[in-house]
């Protein structure tokens, strides 16, 4: 055989193995258990399940989604920490779980380095939202009402947000009645039913705001909200903390790097495609994908854990 053919065949063979290897750097040794830290049926839960479903179709993997709710994601994290680090168990939560919640619960004995970040999927469009029937056009109207003696019920869905609501009141010289409920849907229901006057909502308010039933009074992020860019951010209202954060997939510490990379890549591809089911949901409900991976993600989780000490201290004063 002429040597040129030999080279070509060898080259083709190499190419074939290379693309083959790229398509499946890593295949899970069995079905993957997906621990979801959110209540079944909510937006976050749907996001997790749709991503799992799409990966099943695309890669032929098998996911077993399972609810592990409670304690701001710490229930899920505790289960994940004990799970085998071979890629067969992953979890979905929010970055807050690994920051504020782990810092606030030293008894639980968990820190971000017990986990391996896989990828973030989306941020929140976290707003301070009231029903338009309250008649408040801006956050100033609400503060004025509070100063006028009207008790304001402020719905929050996590201890970190309760602290931020408290600091917002403190900065503006008013006291809110801060009511903790479970999940963003419960805040939305409470505001709609009149049980709550105002509350934090992380994207679920979008349709209501568009229809004119709800008002984004302020952005609880470090940046303005996409839907209501004119609403002031917390920083301009005198609060030096914000509720920035993302949904993320994590595994237990020590998960093989090729498993992390393969999963991170597959998830990122799925959610970046606005035509796919999870991509469409993320675009619609959470303002588009936010993808942070690898060392950058691990560093961000560690930083969130460290900086939460400051918020805990500020809120306890």
């Amino acid at each position: 055989m002429p040597s040129i053919w030999k080279t070509l065949i060898a080259g083709a063979a190499m190419l074939a193995t290379a693309t083959g290897a790229m398509a499946a750097d890593w295949t899970p040794p069995g079905p993957i258990k997906l621990l979801i830290a959110f209540r079944a049926g909510g937006g976050a839960d749907t996001q997790a399940r749709l991503i799992a479903e799409t990966l099943e179709d695309k890669l032929g993997w098998k996911f077993i989604p399972e609810q592990a709710t409670g304690k701001g994601g710490l229930t899920m994290a505790a289960a994940l920490k004990k799970a085998p680090a071979d890629g067969t168990v992953v979890g979905m939560a929010v970055t807050e779980t690994f920051g504020y919640n782990m810092a606030a619960a030293p008894n639980a004995g968990m820190k971000p380095s017990d986990f391996a970040g896989i990828t973030t999927t989306a941020g929140f469009q976290m707003g301070v939202v009231s029903a338009s029937s309250k008649g408040w056009k801006s956050i100033d109207d609400m503060i004025a009402a509070a100063k006028g003696g009207e008790p304001i019920r402020f719905g929050v869905m996590s201890p970190r947000l309760a602290d931020i609501a408290y600091l917002l009141g403190k900065a503006q010289g008013v006291d809110f009645n801060i009511v903790s409920v479970q999940g963003g849907r419960a805040v939305l229901d409470g505001v709609n039913a009149g049980d709550l006057d105002v509350g934090f909502m992380a994207g679920i308010q979008r349709a209501g705001v568009a229809a004119g039933d709800l008002v984004n009074l302020a952005s609880a992020l470090s940046v303005p909200l996409e839907q209501t860019p004119d609403a002031p951010t917390l920083a301009t209202l005198g609060v030096e903390f914000d509720s920035d954060g993302q949904f993320l997939f994590v595994g237990p510490a020590g998960m093989p790097q090729d498993a992390i990379d393969t999963m991170a890549k597959a998830i990122a591809e799925t959610i970046s495609d606005a035509e796919s089911k999870p991509g469409g949901l993320i675009k619609k409900a959470f303002g588009g994908p936010v993808i942070i991976q690898g060392a950058e993600l691990d560093a961000q989780l560690e930083a969130g854990f460290q900086s939460s000490e400051a918020l805990l201290k500020a809120a306890s004063e």
Partner: protein, 528 residues
């Protein structure tokens, strides 16, 4: 999106779901097929002494969830199956009561009083027809009341009740259940208290899992399915086995006699029965709407009311109640069947379950997700579809389809189920136990859940031995989390007012009613 659009969407959701089979070009949806299978199973378990609708619902639920998954699409097929069981079991219970003098379900005990004497006189077939007709009439009436009342009650609750009033209403409901179920207030309260205690293990807002004594398995709390199935099903099986062990020498002789040629029900006879069926349906529906009282009391009251009327109109030479008159069967069966629809009024409008069947419907909705029974379901949003409301109307459609099956083919299946009475208990009970534990493991995939189930089974057994009803335990366990959340929220929302439970006229009224319920139960206990 008007009300009619929602009703139409609900009906479509049942008929248009994924196809199960296509018969002669007509597509049968999975939901429709599941209602049918559930209905068949319901008739069979209702007719089997020692089994009842709730047991079948409990065992099928985890299996159904593992088949259909946790997506909102699973809601209607799974709930349809459970509703089918619920409806089928209401007619099945009368079969062994009439033919063998052993009630298939506890609420069919009064049916034996007249049904069995009728069978002994050779009118077994007729007694079954009376039972079937009365059951289905009462049930349908109750469903109509449910569909009319539930949305209005829900809107009323959502419109007028604030957080403190909602907390007071939960306290009132639990006290009412504790006082109404079983004979003694103290036992009811013990049962409720234990349920709350179990609900508070490992839960709460604090990041530290409370009451878990450092145990990892306890730190996530008791799984809902383990607790409910353990106390209700495993406890009942253990209790039945113990009874069987003691009484295994007793044999019950069967008497299926159809000597009379005419076993059919004429229109004239139906006309004669209607006053009894009507009264009992109203009694059963009213009792059903109150959480916790249940169908056995409804049957007793229906029978008593019927008896009183019968003695006024009876000719001197005619048979009396208790000697085998169709009116007695009709009064009992209409009353115990009309409980089931009305029992869903507090479930759908308040999220408060009133009996074991309702407990399993809530368990199904909570496990699958995407449908939270309670006042928020009935939000008639116009700008976008409220999917929970569509599911609610889908449920109503399922109920009417099951009723339709009851009307059309129920009688035939019911009479064919006499054979179920022959299944020996020593075979049946271990099978139920094994199925329950398997079902739990399928759903929870952890051995800890199986141990919890067995533990709660022992608790359920001891409660039965001590004549403590396990129903308040289960209902308190389900409502415990909500009671805590609502109370915390009401406390926070009122700016930390410790008197939030007596801060408005409505909440004061609820708390006063709570006190009255408790005092009345104590007084009743003294006079008994």
């Amino acid at each position: 999106m008007g009300t009619l659009d929602y009703i139409w969407l609900g009906i479509l959701a049942v008929f248009q779901g994924p196809e199960f089979v296509s018969l002669a070009g007509i597509s049968i949806s999975v939901t429709l097929a599941m209602i049918f299978f559930g209905f068949l199973l319901g008739v069979a378990v209702g007719a089997t002494p020692g089994l009842a609708g709730p047991i079948a619902m409990a065992i099928s639920l985890p299996i159904l969830i593992s088949i259909f998954g946790f997506t909102p699409d699973a809601l209607l097929p799974v709930l349809g199956f459970l509703i089918g069981i619920m409806k089928g079991a209401t007619i099945g219970g009368a079969v062994p009561a009439i033919l063998f003098n052993t009630p298939g379900t506890p609420d069919a005990f009064m049916t034996t009083l007249d049904g069995h004497p009728m069978a002994r006189r050779g009118l077994g077939g007729k007694a079954l027809r009376v039972a079937h007709f009365s059951s289905v009439t009462g049930d349908t009436f109750s469903d109509i009341v449910l569909i009319i009342c539930a949305p209005f009650l829900a809107l009323l609750v959502e419109g007028y009740l604030d957080l403190p009033e909602k907390a007071a209403l939960l306290i009132l409901s639990m006290s009412f259940i504790a006082a109404a179920v079983g004979g003694s207030l103290a036992k009811g309260l013990i049962s409720t208290g234990l349920g709350l205690l179990a609900a508070y293990v490992g839960t709460g807002q604090d990041f530290y899992p409370r009451l878990s004594i450092g145990n990892e398995a306890l730190s996530e709390g008791f799984p809902l399915a383990s607790t409910v199935l353990g106390v209700l099903i495993v406890g009942a099986v253990l209790h039945e086995l113990a009874l069987y062990w003691r009484r295994r020498d007793d044999g019950t002789a069967g008497t299926v006699m159809e000597t009379e040629a005419n076993q059919r029900l004429s229109l004239r006879e139906i006309g004669r029965l209607m006053p009894y069926i009507g009264r009992s349906a109203v009694v059963g529906t009213m009792i059903g709407a109150l959480p916790g009282i249940g169908s056995t009391l409804a049957a007793t009251i229906g029978y008593t009311v019927g008896k009183r009327r019968y003695q006024k109109v009876r000719k001197d030479d005619a048979l009396d109640f208790g000697e085998g008159v169709p009116e007695g069967v009709a009064a009992t069966e209409a009353a115990n069947s009309s409980v089931s629809g009305a029992n869903l009024i507090p479930v759908l409008s308040l999220g408060i379950p009133g009996n074991a069947a309702a407990v399993f419907l809530i368990l199904a909705a909570e496990s699958i997700g995407g449908f939270t029974p309670g006042p928020s379901v009935f939000k008639f949003t116009t700008d976008q579809v409220n999917p929970e409301l569509v599911i609610a109307f889908g449920l109503f459609t399922c109920m009417f389809l099951a009723n339709l099956m009851n009307w059309t083919i129920g009688g035939v299946f019911m009479r064919a189920m006499a054979v179920m009475t022959r299944i020996p208990k020593q075979v049946l009970l271990p099978v139920v136990l094994l199925l329950t534990l398997t079902a739990i493991y399928v759903q929870e995939t952890a051995m800890a859940a199986v141990w919890f189930t067995l533990g709660f089974g022992v608790l359920g057994y001891l409660m039965r031995v001590l004549a403590i009803s396990p129903l308040p335990f289960v209902i308190a366990f389900i409502l415990g989390g909500r009671l805590e959340d609502t109370s915390r929220q009401a406390f926070a929302a009122t700016g930390g007012d410790p008197w939030f439970l007596v801060s408005s006229p409505v909440s004061i009224a609820f708390m006063a009613l709570t006190a009255i319920v408790v005092v009345a139960a104590i007084r009743r206990g003294r006079t008994d």
